[in-house]
Chain length 419, copies 2
């Protein structure tokens, strides 16, 4: 029996080889493969649901909660959504080979950038089986090979999906090993995958904080990851009252469990009189518990005192922390200290404050008079996203096709030599 | 006494705080600081040379070779070059705050990118004291704080330079701790620095392979690094003979010890008759030893047989490996297998071959009819470079100001909420 390391290295070598062969394929071949993937998923919807039912049964037997089981479920609507997602990726422009900034230099050479794939991507994810198709579609479109490793709870669903994706690659004349699924029960597989520097170029984890922290700690391969989303909305002294009310309520309550949901509210001290109570009341009416600072607490019915810990917490639920700040500097300092560099929004009509907030706050997305809930690949026009990155290097914020590529330099000469 | 960890954390915290304060400084203040740095280095040239003499004496006493001592030496010309380098960086456009691709989305929000600093950069380097000034200039101009750690052999020189740089920051009204030099004799300092994820955002090592491999292995902070430069020149079937001869000789012999020097030569089998001998003879006349494959060896006087190992070796000296290949596919496969993803050049007049080489070869710089020696920040128009990256993520090839920044998203709305 092959040991796990050998097995994973074989997978890595096959991925590298498939990815190299993909470089001579044109955009049409990749798009055709993605459309065939969609077709094969639709055509085999019954079999996909049959595989999914095995996973659902195991989850029920293991006593998983309703939310977990819902995330796991593949019904016809979700299969159709996966298929349509692949078709939408096929319709996006091909990022690979794009040449930019090609300019003549004084030496006579022309120098510019060409966009190229990252190489082999390891995608490690939990529960939602649709990630299998989304990730494969984005990776192949951007010229990469992908090694998929989903959670054991969705093994049957993921493998059934991956099988159709591979069949589509074959029919389109592309290497099957552009998409591989790691199905060994051995839990060490992830550990090996994220330390195979020779075979894997980047790891993208998608799932709960536990998974992502573990991968960050153990990976030797570079990781594109998203940790916390402790997003703030700051209501400035010069905020428009109507916009502030609307945006705060939307940022907190439009969906509670997403990473771009607001978790902390800062209000300028000059707006304690007119805005504090209406905003807090509106949030409370939507079932949100408000954890308030010392200055605001006495003015609020039904709020509780915030602790230091609250300001650093991503609740992912019906709670928001609240703090009164003296000025813009205090707001910026608070966000740079407690924020998780995800998405931060200011409500203001003040031109200078807006400019300073955009420049001085350190986060992936900075917003003026807009809900943090807009931080999303589709809303930003990426077409699709493989995740949201709070990395500093390489890509920050929603990661679409471009985030799965790099820029290499090209130099065109006519026998030029350096003197 | 503070232990090393505490000491390094203090340095990290001071860097972070200084970098945050720099975000409200305008471009003029940064440029003024860089010009003052240049002025202070020039004015204190005598004292810098005095400090440098201490390092030179220690190196001589330690029996270091002439090349080592030459790299270490700070004479008036080199001090002037450092000063002018800082002035040139001051004259470059400020990358920070550049807004691109700001477009309206169907939802009504405007979405775009804003360029921002990486944060705190740890620069770890060996022997050449000028790196102290170059790195500090590039980091401050791009809005970052830098923690410098040079080799013990240049401690006195580096500290003397860093002191003038800090004095210039002070005079320009910027935080001194934008530039800090780690002068503890404790060799563990580097190990602590490259694993302080909370305080350091990126590590840039610059030096020999030993240093860089060690940092890659031990760092938990992301690293922008350059490993080997095993660069190829491929003489295609459709190469112009005159250009091929000129470019190969330049790529190999213009300077022997640089990372963009050609280390391996591939020649298409159809050019064995007319080009093999002239090229090899020209190289041999320049004192280059040619290590040839089985097919070429019998045709060459004074060449030796290449081993498998030769094809993977960066000689950094008067040796080149040589291999005859059957076609473009074989050339591309060879380079993708043995290359180090630094710089690869094709000599050809064939349009299709040029296009395929640019697209299918996996390296930081791809060239057509140009010497690999052009792979350099100045030649590419970056103005200055802090190093060359063979990373896949974030930045690839010469790293200038832009490589020291990231792009964050900005969203401008008018009270927009997500529905």
């Amino acid at each position: 029996m092959m040991d796990l390391h050998q097995e994973m290295e074989k997978i890595g070598e096959r991925a590298r080889s498939a990815q190299r062969r993909l470089q001579s394929a044109d955009s049409a071949a990749k798009d055709q493969a993605l459309r065939l993937m969609a077709e094969f998923l639709r055509r085999d919807a019954d079999n996909l649901q049959r595989a999914n039912r095995k996973d659902l049964r195991s989850a029920e037997e293991a006593g998983k909660d309703a939310a977990f089981i819902d995330r796991l479920r593949l019904d016809e609507t979700r299969i159709e959504a996966m298929a349509r997602g692949l078709e939408e990726i096929a319709a996006l422009p091909d990022p690979v080979g794009e040449i930019t900034d090609l300019r003549y230099r004084p030496s006579g050479i022309q120098v510019g950038h060409m966009r190229a794939p990252l190489g082999v991507i390891a995608m490690i994810y939990e529960s939602r089986p649709n990630v299998t198709a989304d990730a494969a579609g984005l990776c192949v479109k951007s010229g990469n090979a992908v090694i998929l490793r989903g959670g054991s709870e969705s093994l049957n669903s993921n493998m059934a999906i991956a099988e159709r994706l591979r069949a589509a690659l074959g029919k389109a004349g592309l290497p099957l090993d552009l998409v591989q699924y790691v199905n060994t029960a051995d839990r060490e597989a992830v550990g090996v995958l994220i330390s195979m520097d020779a075979h894997v170029d980047v790891v993208i984890p998608r799932g709960g904080k536990g998974l992502i922290s573990r991968i960050k700690a153990d990976a030797t391969v570079p990781v594109i990851m998203h940790l916390d989303g402790n997003c703030h909305v700051y209501v400035d002294a010069d905020a428009d009252a109507r916009k502030a009310l609307k945006v705060v309520v939307n940022a907190k309550t439009q969906r509670l469990g997403t990473c771009n949901t607001a978790e902390s509210l800062l209000i300028h001290k000059d707006r304690m009189e007119d805005l504090l109570l209406p905003i807090v009341t509106a949030l409370q009416e939507k079932g949100i518990e408000v954890r308030a600072c010392e200055r605001s607490l006495p003015r609020l019915a039904g709020a509780v005192a915030a602790t230091e810990e609250d300001y650093g917490t991503e609740y992912l639920g019906p709670i928001i922390s609240l703090k009164i700040v003296d000025d813009l500097d205090a707001a910026i300092a608070h966000i740079n200290r407690y924020g998780s560099q995800h998405t931060e929004s200011i409500l203001t009509e003040n031109y200078t404050h807006a400019r300073r907030f955009l420049r001085e706050v350190d986060a992936s997305s900075l917003m003026v008079n807009a809900s943090t809930r807009f931080a999303d690949g589709f809303e930003y026009g990426l077409g699709a996203e493989i995740g949201i990155s709070t990395n500093r290097l390489h890509v920050r914020g929603p990661v679409g096709l471009e985030g799965l590529t790099l820029q290499k330099w090209i130099v065109l000469g006519d026998g030029h030599i350096r003197s």
